[in-house]
């Protein structure tokens, strides 16, 4: 009883004025420790899933590994890279298809997406339902989308050819032909991902201030001038982000190509992009050395595209 009475005034007496300062310090210390503690699990997980595998792949790319990953292998230096870069039968056509597919699809998606976003900029009744319709394609399983379009575009029984015939246009082979497969898949990609572009650009448009456009209206600018010289420059940041996001995904497109055309991108490799090619090299041919070299080149290529787009974006912003 007496001890508590003695000790009680002690902390509240001399310690009281010092208390806020001490508390401040522990705040900062605990902050520093806390932020790393909060980050650590995610950082460690992603690091563990990336760092070792990337080193492993880099190592494999310098070997003649074939058949089994842990089979005896010899180091061959940069031979795999040279082999890939000299391969005009599979590698370079795959590069070309990857580039054509990505540029074509993303370009169409950007133009259509921007147009649709401008149409949907001002709210109207039922815009909720339009947005719902727009998100369904991009949330649907790509393999299911592949199957769905196989049915629609079936050369003999599909509704697409039926419609073409009805309006007097010639029937098409679509995915059944070597030359039409890649353009057809680009259009399927456009169908699935234009909504994403629209939603991203709509989000960007909704953040823009109204005043510059009103000022341009007062100055007598027509609709196109207002779009080209007022809205578009303000939208650059969003546009670049959207382009980066879509390009990275388009470069890596796999599911829909593999689901509709199977291994090797069809009998004549007609839709074999870099992703499909390296998948085939790895899992159908067990050419781990060459596959790893192709993947290293592919990764560098994607990083290059991202850096380039961001730099151009920053320059024009």
């Amino acid at each position: 009883m007496s001890t508590t009475e003695v000790s009680r005034p002690a902390p509240s007496g001399p310690a009281a004025p010092r208390r806020p300062e001490r508390r401040q310090r522990t705040f900062e210390q605990s902050n520093r420790r806390l932020k790393w503690a909060m980050l650590a699990p995610a950082l460690l997980f992603v690091g563990a899933m990336i760092v070792f595998p990337l080193l492993f792949t880099l190592n494999l790319s310098l070997t003649d590994a074939f058949g089994a990953v842990n089979a005896k292998k010899g180091y061959v230096g940069f031979q795999n890279f040279l082999d890939a870069l000299e391969d005009s039968r599979r590698f370079w056509p795959a590069v070309r298809r990857t580039v054509v597919f990505t540029i074509g699809a993303v370009l169409i998606e950007t133009v259509l997406g921007l147009g649709l976003a401008m149409l949907m900029r001002k709210a109207f009744r039922g815009i909720r339902w339009v947005r719902t319709v727009l998100i369904i394609p991009l949330l649907t399983t790509p393999v299911a989308i592949g199957i769905l379009w196989l049915l629609i575009l079936d050369p003999t029984n599909g509704i697409a050819n039926h419609l073409l015939e009805t309006v007097g246009l010639p029937r098409q082979e679509f995915l059944g032909s070597v030359s039409q497969s890649l353009p057809t898949l680009m259009l399927i990609d456009v169908w699935q991902w234009t909504p994403m572009m629209t939603l991203l650009l709509l989000a960007g448009l909704s953040t823009l201030p109204d005043e510059p456009e009103e000022a341009a209206l007062v100055d007598g600018a027509n609709a196109w001038q207002r779009f080209r010289w007022v809205i578009l420059p303000m939208l650059t940041t969003t546009l670049v982000t959207a382009l980066v996001l879509r390009s990275v995904d388009a470069l890596k497109t796999f599911d829909i190509l593999y689901a509709t055309k199977g291994p090797g991108g069809g009998s004549n490799f007609e839709v074999e992009t870099l992703n499909v090619y390296s998948y085939g090299l790895t899992f159908d041919y067990q050419e781990y050395g060459l596959a790893s070299a192709v993947l290293v080149l592919f990764t560098l290529f994607i990083i290059g595209v991202v850096v380039l787009l961001r730099r151009r974006g920053r320059k024009s912003a």
């Binding site: 806390l34 719902t132 199957i147 596959a291 993947l295 994607i302």
Partner: protein, 293 residues
Amino acid sequence: MSAAAPVTPSTAAPVSRTPSPRARRRRNWAWVRVVAVVAVSLIFALPLIWMFAAAFKTNVQVTNPDVGLIFRPTLDNFRAIIDDGAVFTSMKNSLIVGVISTVLSAVIAVPAAWAVGRFRMHRTGSLILVARIIPAISLLVPWYYLFAQAGLVGSYTVLVLSHMFVSVPLILWIMIGFFEGLPVELEEAARTDGLSAFGAFWRISLPLAAPGTATAALLAFVFSWNNFMFALIFADEDTQTVPVTLFNFISYASTDWGGLMAAATLITVPVVAVAVLGQKYLVAGLTAGATKG
């Protein structure tokens, strides 16, 4: 009242009483806009409607393009799928893998997003986003090798870990923006009231971030449900997920269009339900961070 009276008629009257040609033109424009938007929506909706319709057609009707959207529906395709059972097994697998990978990803990614957002550690945050850029195939061989050594290939564990590799960056990306949008004053007030930094996160920011977390988790689940490549490599017959089962259907049953469409419909219906119910949040999640560059 008397002060406001002279102001109102002078501004409002000319506009509302006599519509100028300009206003009329603008109203016509609005109609064109609505018609265009509806037409475009139909283009995006019709293929999926075609798929749902085909699921209820006999194989004769499916391959006859004259049979449009009006026909006598049959449930035979669904009956065949239920009898086969493979689709339901894979739906169960997808559900297990999707739920576990999403929950675990949220548990590690949400606190990380808070740290990145609160303490402006964007450089560190972007390290994790590297995972979004790298082609996943370049990681598959090493993963396979490692998981095979551990005897895990074909197990749920591998599928969960590989799907988390997609969900963690996704949840992180969405939640960083969300936490940055919360006023920092709330946490500061909580701290002066005696909560620790972690307490401020746990009691103040986390509950406020619940809608964002739900959005991010929903998207992570949908992308796990849709993931094809990882399950193609790592799953065995018992752990096969939905897209792989569907893909196998194409290879050996390519003539059974009705069955294929019924299977595709079954796995798409949950996604459509999610889209209809959570449209507002999903759009916010999908476009998170887009306006900041």
